[in-house]
Amino acid sequence: MLKLFYVTDIHGSNVCYRKFLNALPIYGIDVAILNGDLLGKVLIPMVEKDGGWECHLMGQYTEMKTQEELANVKKIVENAGYYWCHQTRDEFEAMQQDPKAIDKMFKNRAYSRIQEWLELADERLEGKSHQVYLCPGNDDYYEIDDMISCMKLVKPCDNILIEFDDYKMVSCSWSNPTPWDTPRETSEEKLTEHLEEVCQKIGTRDKDFEKAIFNFHVPPHGYSLDLCPALTDDLKMKAEEKIHAGSIGAKQVIEKYQPLLSLHGHIHESRGAQKSGRTLMINPGSEYSEGILKGVIVMLDKKKVKDYVFTEG
């Protein structure tokens, strides 16, 4: 029996990433997949003020007078998946006027964290038997692909055929269009074409998919794994109205090829599992901003999913 651990959408959260690495020996995992989105979304400037610092964090104005207070706030920022930077008042005000400078600073901080994570993984996985795969998501810039490829013990898997035991896995980091114009989103037509190409890596016969695993960041459209709040025109959530935000292309290829297992993320609030024919589809959801690592352990036995259990820690 093979124990597969699947986690998705930790969005830059330091504490979730460290928990992910620690979960592998604790849960006795053979193969672990950390699916995107890996990058965070928020940069918090810590601006110098009267010998201390000030910032706005989670809607609150915060002042830090000592190094200890500063370290505590930085830890909160990192655990929530945000990035921080030190600035003088002049630097801060200058950057407010320059969107390119903000973008540059954000990417600099985001890539630094990914690099730290990858180095930490190599350090912690040294001499251990866990196989660990990283796959970006639609929020992740393409630059991180090269960073993942350079690592020793963490393997990339986006758009690559991966084989472990007798199982074959293909992955796709892209998504269908979102309201936020993210780096790896494309039209449904192009996404469907791409997913077809990815699936072809496994084979063309039905038999090839008996032990196949799809790892697509975006969930299939129309199931219970892609339900999220509808948005207003100004991108505010309509909490009472749920819509299906998944990909029709993903739905088509899953229903067509019927892999053993199909793993997804993207829609954080749609944690769940659902069958489509013989395929078990799972979205473990995400609660990264609360420092909670959500995942799923799937127990694979021959041509069957023996069982699965959602995890939280």
Partner: protein, 535 residues
């Protein structure tokens, strides 16, 4: 925010809550002061509940109620055991509340309009049929997902609040002299079947309290002023209006900006009923007077236990008194119908909220492998746990059949006690310990409320302390006098204890059953709860 507030506010059931406060509370604690009891209740509730439930909900914004917090902070067994109690409570509320939609709700409406209401629930099958109709309506409001639920909730809230405003206006604009005239005229025309030694003149405003005291053999008569003991005793019944906004936690995962919305929705869901109750209380003391109000609660036939001085066309609840103030005529009947419909609207929604909460509790259990996998099934069309909602309906119908065969609203008291201990107290304890427990340390470290401190202590701890004191006062009121309490629960406190023990034993058995079942297929359920160390 509006929907979160509405879920909390509607679960306080404004008009039925005020009815329980006055009819049940004041008839038991005859010298209680409604205004002071409201201020004390709200003083406790508006600090304790938002800080406990708002901060826990904002720190762990997941739908499923307090099970999520207690299983993570205290222990999974504690979480399941108390959650079993809560699940049982939500189902039994259907048993307790659906019949109240019919009587006094619809009964009052028909009586105000001058129709015969005796056909509403004379036999067991009539009670079952009418309760089932409203149970089915409540079920359908939830079955088709949050969009339908939220729209229906706004409509029901509009009618409920509109009726409550009308009641408030009627109570406010009626002077003591006008009420006295209308009451006396109403008695002269409508009072029948007088008790021995009672005539219509003895039921007139000036003599009413004395007559009630004589017929009801109330030692010391109806008090002319309030006292502290009875006012504290009133807090138990008042809790119906102020302690139930916690229902927001069942949709915490579906709320926008949970860090702000949940806590503020809790605050407003307490302050709005407080505003109404202060209004009703002050207006009643102005128009009806303290002694007469206390006397009228004695003749109010709530649960059939009132003092029978005569037969009246309708009960002398605060809505009944407002109906008398309105007078007669076609327009008056419209006003009276609006007031009665306020009660019906809020009571229907109290049942509806059971269908919101119970399936979400099951969903949360299922996600932790504490139940069959279908507990976690979400219907893709309606985005709701349709199977769980259907199960809730079947259980609800079974309970309504039981209620029809064995009508006894005293179970309400047992439920209140069970809720105070099994749900509110355990969760307050979890809130008290949240910042200091190792298990949920990273959740606390990521909490947006970590920096909210007062005198160096996290405000959630202060909130928990205030909440525990409030719950202690409520239990003091609920405990029988022979145990040193104020006796608001009467002998039914034993019922509460039996229910709580049964719920906890079942919950613990349920936990170990599913733990063992998972173990047999090689799954350790602790992975669904256990905290992962980051380093």
């Amino acid at each position: 925010m509006l929907d979160a507030f509405a879920v909390g506010f509607m679960n306080q059931g404004l008009t039925p809550g005020a009815w329980v406060f006055l009819s049940l509370g004041l008839s038991t604690f005859i010298g209680g002061n409604v205004v002071i009891a409201t201020l004390i209740s709200v003083g406790f509730a508006v600090i304790g509940f938002p800080l406990v439930w708002g901060i826990l909900g904002g720190s762990m914004p997941r739908s499923g109620g307090e099970y999520v917090y207690n299983s993570r902070i205290l222990h999974p067994v504690v979480g399941i055991a108390q959650s079993f109690g809560d699940a049982m409570i939500w189902m039994i509320w259907i048993f307790a509340l659906a019949p109240l939609i019919v009587n006094p709700g619809l009964t009052m409406l028909f009586q105000f309009l001058g129709y015969d209401a005796s056909w509403l629930g004379n036999t067991w099958w009539e009670r079952f049929l009418f309760s089932s109709i409203f149970n089915a309506i409540a079920f359908l409001f939830v079955l088709f997902g949050m969009k339908v639920f939220a729209k229906a909730q706004k409509v029901i809230m509009f009618f409920g609040l509109g009726g409550a405003v009308v009641i408030g206006i009627v109570l406010t604009v009626t002077s003591r002299a006008a009420f006295t005239d209308k009451w006396n005229a109403w008695i002269d025309v409508n009072a029948t079947d007088m008790a021995d030694g009672v005539d219509k003149a003895s039921l007139h405003y000036d003599k009413f309290a004395g007559t009630v005291a004589t017929v009801g053999e109330i030692a010391g008569g109806i008090p002319t002023t309030w006292n502290w003991r009875d006012t504290i005793g009133l807090l138990v019944a008042a809790s119906w209006l102020y302690a139930y906004a916690y229902s927001i936690s069942f949709i915490a995962g579906e709320v926008k900006r949970p860090d702000k919305s949940i806590i503020w929705a809790n605050v407003f869901a307490i302050l709005v009923p407080c505003t109404f109750m202060l209004w009703f209380g002050l207006a009643l003391y102005h128009s009806v007077g303290f002694q007469f109000l206390s006397a009228s609660t004695q003749t109010d036939a709530m649960n059939g236990s009132g003092v029978v001085v005569a037969t009246f066309p309708w009960d002398t609840s605060f809505i009944g008194l407002a109906a008398i103030m309105v007078g007669t005529g076609a327009f008056a009947k419209v006003i009276m119908a609006i007031m009665a419909l306020s009660y019906v609207a809020f009571a229907i929604w109290l049942v509806t909220l059971s269908y919101l909460a119970f399936p979400r509790i099951m969903f949360a259990w299922g996600m932790d492998r504490m139940g069959p996998k279908w507990f976690t099934d979400i219907n893709p069309r309606y985005a709701s746990p349709v199977k769980n909602i259907l199960l809730a309906f079947i259980i609800g119908e079974a309970l309504l059949l039981w209620a029809a065969l064995k009508p006894d609203a005293s179970v309400n008291i047992a439920l209140t006690g069970l809720q105070i201990t099994s749900v509110f107290f355990v969760t307050a304890l979890a809130a008290l310990l949240f910042p200091y427990m190792k298990g949920p340390k990273s959740i606390w470290d990521s909490s947006p409320y970590k920096k909210w401190t007062l005198l160096g202590v996290p405000v959630i701890v202060w909130g928990a302390i205030v909440n525990i004191i409030y719950l202690g006062v409520l239990m003091y009121g609920l405990f029988p006098t022979k145990w040193g309490g104020l006796g608001a629960g009467g002998d039914w406190t034993f019922e509460m204890i039996y229910m709580m023990i049964a719920a906890w034993v079942l919950g613990i058995a349920w936990f170990f059953f599913w733990k063992q079942k998972s173990k047999s297929v090689g799954v350790d359920v602790s992975v669904t709860y256990g905290e992962l160390p980051p380093d």
